[in-house]
Symmetry: C2
Subunit: 392 residues, 2 copies
Amino acid sequence: MKINVNENFGKIKQNYLFSDIASKVKAFKEANPDASIIKMGIGDVTLPLPEPSVNAMIAAAKEMGVKETFRGYPPEYGYDFLREAISGHYKTLGTDVKASSIFVSDGAKSDLGNIVDILGDNEIIIPDPVYPVYVDSNTMSGRKITLVPGSRDNGFLPMPPEKKGNPAVIYICSPNNPTGAVYGFDGLKAWVDYALDTGSLIIFDAAYEAFITENVPHTIYQIKGADQCAIEVSSFSKFAGFTGTRCGWTVVPEGLESNGTKIAALWARRQATKFNGVSYPVQRAAEAALSPEGIKACMANIEYYRKNACMLAELLRSKDIFFTGGVNSPYIWLKCPNNMGGWEFFDMLLNKYGIVGTPGEGFGDAGSGYFRLTAFGSAEGTAEACQRLKDL
Amino acid sequence: MKINVNENFGKIKQNYLFSDIASKVKAFKEANPDASIIKMGIGDVTLPLPEPSVNAMIAAAKEMGVKETFRGYPPEYGYDFLREAISGHYKTLGTDVKASSIFVSDGAKSDLGNIVDILGDNEIIIPDPVYPVYVDSNTMSGRKITLVPGSRDNGFLPMPPEKKGNPAVIYICSPNNPTGAVYGFDGLKAWVDYALDTGSLIIFDAAYEAFITENVPHTIYQIKGADQCAIEVSSFSKFAGFTGTRCGWTVVPEGLESNGTKIAALWARRQATKFNGVSYPVQRAAEAALSPEGIKACMANIEYYRKNACMLAELLRSKDIFFTGGVNSPYIWLKCPNNMGGWEFFDMLLNKYGIVGTPGEGFGDAGSGYFRLTAFGSAEGTAEACQRLKDL
């Protein structure tokens, strides 16, 4: 063929991180067939779906098998029952997010990737290290990206530029993937104020919100003025173990407009044109996760992961190793000892201790020399890993 | 805010078709509270999910509730079990489509909308009238669209331009929504030859394939050379009643490349960046629809709709009214009698016969003076409508 393809795809860095890890683990296994390997690299949940969600999905599947209760095309923005349930979730956080501002989707990743459709050419501000979707989706659209580096000095919580810049699109992920760092009220307020001051849009990724235990913002709408400058994307993936079930949402407040154009109207049009809504049984399962019994079951799972994070944090504290996360987050982001590089530390951890983690290099240049461990494994595996690492 | 939004959104025609229809029906109901209205405007299935799909979804939901069988993130391109099942479907059509060329998604609409991401600036050729997503998604991307009008003369099956044009992206929907017209082998071959000759890409929408009974192509890959110039998008929505369950797929053949770039690699990267795969229970339900029992149950439903289409076609034939569709399709596309406009005919049908359909004006300029009836209603309702229309 001779058609023009999107040349920007050629500018995306090919990230072989997880395949490189897999081949190293494979080689280790072949050389050490009897070694027991503890996997702490995975960013995916491992505990089963909460029972109320399973039951709701089964009931909805049965409804779909009967003519009288069968449902065809779902509403593109989600069933009212689920939008209301999510709005109720925001009420428990002390914020008022209208059901009509909530757009249900098949997951946060889709929305974070697709949001570029409604935007024109703007400067894009993205913290480094970070979840790769922000950089990749903007690169695909040919946008100019400014990375704001996290570091030990700022606790991997970069602050806004001191000099007032142009209107920009600013991505914030808090609690952060991969660093586990969380903005406090003051830090997030600084970003909201900067956005209001410059006419910028914040895209706030709240996917790890359920892990928060300390007094830090759960949603950007806890910050005054955020409803004038921020979209929030969130998910049932980590809260309710929905990584394989697929449901998320995006909040686009009514008051959000740029030069007179309502942003919610653009997103509504985007979704109505290129999306056809979420599976009915999945939406019922998500609704059930937000019922009182559902929340209880979800929180028991989160607590299980939190205890793992706590074990890892204690170990690192006892070793005087700098880290972020471990609290308010399933991630532990540690400085590799003895100024090792991330891959060097990876090899040592695997070969000496049989533990698999993720080199920080995979999440951006500012991640060099750091390492991510996750709390999504089993309690027994995590305890065993801490035991093995005692002589680190 | 002062950020730049995508200005192309302002160029999309606001289509109030279905809300205009709804308000007219509402007004009629208020004026005639006792009238029984037969709805034949709906493009959505009404029969329940096939039992094998319901059972598979229930079994998968149960698996998700147990730690040992729980599944996290699905593969972005679909589970192998489903890709293999879809590949098997193509085998029954006498074509060889590799499982690795099949990308499972949450529905044809998403893929048809998102495919623009991987393309550069090209001329876009779209038949008129047609499903609005092709025009809207390309307008949003700022593309130049050339409409190829359908008409009574070409049986609403427009043929390629006689003069060889530039490499273009060509959309074809066959069986067509809204006209029900289907390309024969010669017609589709003419398009494939034109694409090969000009270096163009065809995006073939096969969503209504299951309705085909005559000897016409079910898939574009039945045409020689199509694997060098065509992407095919298809869906479980109409075949298995999945409009509310959400599952579809896109085929990007390995051999498809433009100026040396593999198109499958671009689509793979797009999906891996902006999509996270389809819900596991939904994929199991889709797999079950392609099992021998599933196909039997799906085909029984399709047969039910087909009989409705047949009744409507017979009525129009007896009245000597020109129409397309009615066979190989759930749609009947008729020329409004007495040179009425589509809305004029709509009003008459509603007020005199209590029947709701869709004015052709809603599907593009070439749809003016035409009208769409669908076979997705009940057998009783369709028979009653035919009875009422005897004096048309």
